[in-house]
């Protein structure tokens, strides 16, 4: 039987990192995710698995430590919250430009600016659309429970190494702070040097004489070289879009109305769907699990079958733009959101849903 432990989402990230053979974590304190580094420091994994844990002087530094560690083919990660992710955006662009695998956890809080320390989903656009400069995408996966937080660390590294691309686990203050039972899967050892070289022959770990040297850079001064690289990235993103889309449907197949929500909002929407169904209203929910790649085919498919869709988010309306693009005029698309750390109730969603759909 696998072990089940009651823990916070943030703690699940830390425990999962240790148990899944992560080589290094580099971070900087920021609410509401500081438990990630605190848990790691308390667990002292350097004495057990040999994992390196380091508190950096800033998010700028921690993301660049991730860059250095990723250059060595190691499984390295960081975690932060919204303002910290803004500081990391330079580094994330470089990681994408150098095609380096890593996992970045964003436990979102309200913004812009210093904002609040309460939960929010207002970094959707920042993380899904880029955030840093240049043509790139991070793979963005959105957990909705501490169990997801635990599972997505390993899944994140799998995707990161498969595509040599940064992966963002886009959580929020609720999922970070929420305590639930987490099933701990059997642990995975850290990779040996030989396994790293096999998985990452491009790693900069010292070149023996006679071997071609490895250079990790995101620089190409020549326009033609840069364009060729951009097109190579595009081909990679197309492959990711074709292979890695993940979503969860809740009562979608007979639904006449669809709610679309990710992360913690999807759980609240699930309750709203149940309440609507009790009243005889055939509502369903689509929860995108990968935000990039976005489940646009599934949304497009459902758009031809439902009367309307409504995107429910803890922000001013960010994912709804992608929903509209996917729907492409096939049905009306509405939006309801709360901001500043305020969280909607299922009743509130139900009321807004009825308003939008002219239902009583």
């Amino acid at each position: 039987m696998t072990e089940k432990i009651l823990m916070k989402g943030n703690e699940a990230i830390a425990i999962s990192a240790i148990r899944n053979g992560v080589d290094g974590y580099f971070g900087y304190p920021i609410t509401p995710q500081s438990e990630v580094m605190e848990t790691l420091m308390k667990e002292k994994p350097w004495e057990t698995t040999g994992m390196v844990v380091l508190q950096a002087e800033s998010e700028l530094s921690s993301i660049n430590m991730v860059y250095g560690g990723a250059c060595c083919g190691k499984k390295v990660m960081t975690s932060s919250s919204s303002p910290g992710i803004s500081l990391m955006s330079e580094g994330i662009s470089y990681l994408a430009g150098a095609e380096l695998p890593c996992v970045i956890v964003d436990v979102m809080r309200g913004g812009p600016g210093l904002g609040t320390i309460q939960p929010s989903q207002s970094d959707y656009s920042q993380c899904v659309k880029g955030g840093g400069h240049g043509d790139y995408h991070c793979i963005v996966i959105a957990p909705a429970s501490p169990q997801d937080m635990y599972d997505f660390v390993d899944w994140g590294f799998e995707l990161a190494f498969k595509y040599r691309n940064p992966v963002i686990i886009l959580a929020d203050g609720i999922i970070g702070q929420l305590m639930e039972k987490v099933e701990l899967h059997p642990s995975k050892p850290r990779r040996t040097d030989a396994e790293i070289l096999a998985a990452a022959p491009w790693a900069t770990v010292g070149k023996p004489a006679g071997k071609e040297r490895n250079i990790i850079t995101s620089l190409s001064l020549d326009a033609g070289t840069q364009e060729a690289f951009n097109r190579k990235l595009l081909a990679k993103f197309r492959e990711i879009e074709a292979n890695e889309v993940k979503y969860a449907g809740y009562l979608t197949e007979d639904a006449e109305y669809l709610l679309v929500a990710f992360g913690c909002a999807s759980r609240i929407c699930e309750a709203a769907v149940d309440m609507l169904r009790e009243e005889g209203i055939m509502a369903g929910l689509l929860r995108p699990i990968t935000l990039y790649p976005f489940p646009e085919k599934e949304i497009s498919r459902l758009a031809s079958r439902v009367r309307s869709m409504m995107s429910i988010e803890l922000n001013l309306g960010q994912m709804v733009e992608d929903v509209r693009l996917a729907v492409n005029g096939k049905c009306p698309v509405g939006f309801y959101g709360r901001q500043g750390g305020n969280v909607f109730t299922p009743e509130e969603i139900m009321e807004e849903f009825k308003k939008f759909n002219n239902l009583k």
């Binding site: 290094g24 950096a56 700028l60 660049n64 430590m65 250059c71 770990v205 004489a209 040297r213």
Partner: protein, 256 residues
Amino acid sequence: MDTLSDIKKPENLVYGKPALLTDNIMHYCPGCSHGTVHKLIAEVIEDMGIQDKTIGISPVGCSVFAYNYIDIDWQEAAHGRAPALATATKRLCPDKYVFTYQGDGDLASIGTAEIIHACSRGENIVVIFINNGIYGMTGGQMAPTTLIGMKTSTTPYGRDPKLNGFPLKITEMLAALDGTAYITRQAVHTAAAARKAKNAIRKGFEYSAKGIGLSFIEIVSTCNSGWKMSPTDANRWMVENMFAKYPLGDIKDVLK
């Protein structure tokens, strides 16, 4: 009378291009100090036999392309962030030799936080710091290290402390930090100076393997293009002006 073929024997060889310098044509201007410093680093890595254990981290600036010239594994960092990359690399690969190569804009301006905290944490890495008092690659703008009165493209009337602040002696600042093991300031304008600089670089690499903290080697350098001088005039100007503000010699050595 010996013929050329009599003289060209291995036992008579007193100088050669280091095997670890690649055949790529350097993009540096004639008279620039970068080429000499690259050669010294290549020689040290070769002399110590640590090519397969050495990872270099290049900056943003003229030496962004350092990876084209020394035949080792390289990482190219964002502007100023090389010490953060080096920190993770060394901690994750503790048996390797890790060095950063950074100019004064990269290290002493945009990268001050990264270098100060790498020093403060006592990371067991080597930092080669090229101080030529100017931003070379972007066309000769003022650096933190630009001397008072020195003309650059952003101080066209000379650096005025009221307008532009004072030159930053970052090397002395770093020597005050407990995590640094060896701090020195060298130059490469003469054969004798280059020999001393090479010894300093070697000491830095040796210290980094001892686990006693960070080694920092500043090389006061010329940027004759940015300074708008001939190579020889630039060397003379450096001796007369730069050395007065940035005197050569060891500043800290914890094993002495």
